[in-house]
Point group: C2
Chain length 161, copies 2
């Protein structure tokens, strides 16, 4: 399965992802304004399975979890960037959004079709080259697969494990 | 209270913090080799309350939690850096190590005496200038104060809260 790439620059902040004026209206409304200041075509054009490929320090700014959950709400399969705000990285996995750390993300092009394997730690470009990513531990990927921290805990409690 | 600064460069990885050959011998042994490849004077010279001021991508590499817990074991009061591996940032707070994200960390000098307020979001240099940091949410600082995720959960369970 391949994923269509939306390219973004460095320092995309939480206010660009979840704009302040939309915050009180919930995720559906936040989603229609997601990234409008940096990619006005994104909110209307994104399709489930697409990925964001960004620059350094993705997700800096505030602690609002909606900045991560809005991307999951829009069906974004993963964010791929060379570095993140630590708090964003933490929030993202907690809400079930996959975030891959890839030092060479800048080589990936707008609109390119990529594949990735978070467990093995690579992103494959359209022409076949594989870029290494920091591997994400299995227990965190399992949490993402379960939909995030709370669904994962609920599932474990329900199964007594 | 002021904190003495140890300066480090970009891309300090988990193998520099917790060297592979020492891993099986536990934290006391890991601590004697902590950062020996980049700051051979560190392990013997660090004093409780000191801080590390590093460059970009602090803590990249493997998922080993000892790379964070060894600094707490040595009494390091905080790491201050412009960016972290997301996984390191997560592990650090979970083991009770404070990690501050400060875009201007590079301005701080070796041996300088600094102060910081993680809740308010600043690091104060020796001459009084305050550098802004990304604020860390209160519930995460409370977890760090409790010694990390597991002590924090144990305390909450014991108090029924």
């Amino acid at each position: 399965m391949s994923h269509r790439v939306w390219r973004l620059g460095d320092d995309v902040d939480t206010d660009a992802l979840a704009p302040g004026p939309a915050m009180k209206f919930g995720l559906d409304e936040i989603a229609t304004h997601c990234l409008e200041t940096v990619r006005p075509d994104f909110a209307a054009g994104v399709r489930p399975g697409d990925v964001l490929v960004a620059g350094r320090n993705f997700g800096i700014g505030s602690s609002r979890e909606q900045a991560a959950s809005v991307l999951r709400h829009l069906g974004v399969a993963a964010v791929i960037a060379p570095s993140y705000s630590g708090l964003y990285w933490r929030n993202a996995l907690n809400v079930g959004l996959l975030v891959l750390t890839c030092a060479r993300a800048g080589e990936i092009g707008e609109g390119e079709a990529v594949d990735f394997d978070a467990r093995a730690g690579w992103v494959q470009r359209a022409h076949g080259e594989r870029l290494p990513c920091e591997p994400v531990p299995g227990f965190l990927l399992d949490m993402v697969d379960a939909g995030g921290l709370l669904p994962s805990l609920r599932r474990r409690l329900a199964h007594g494990g």
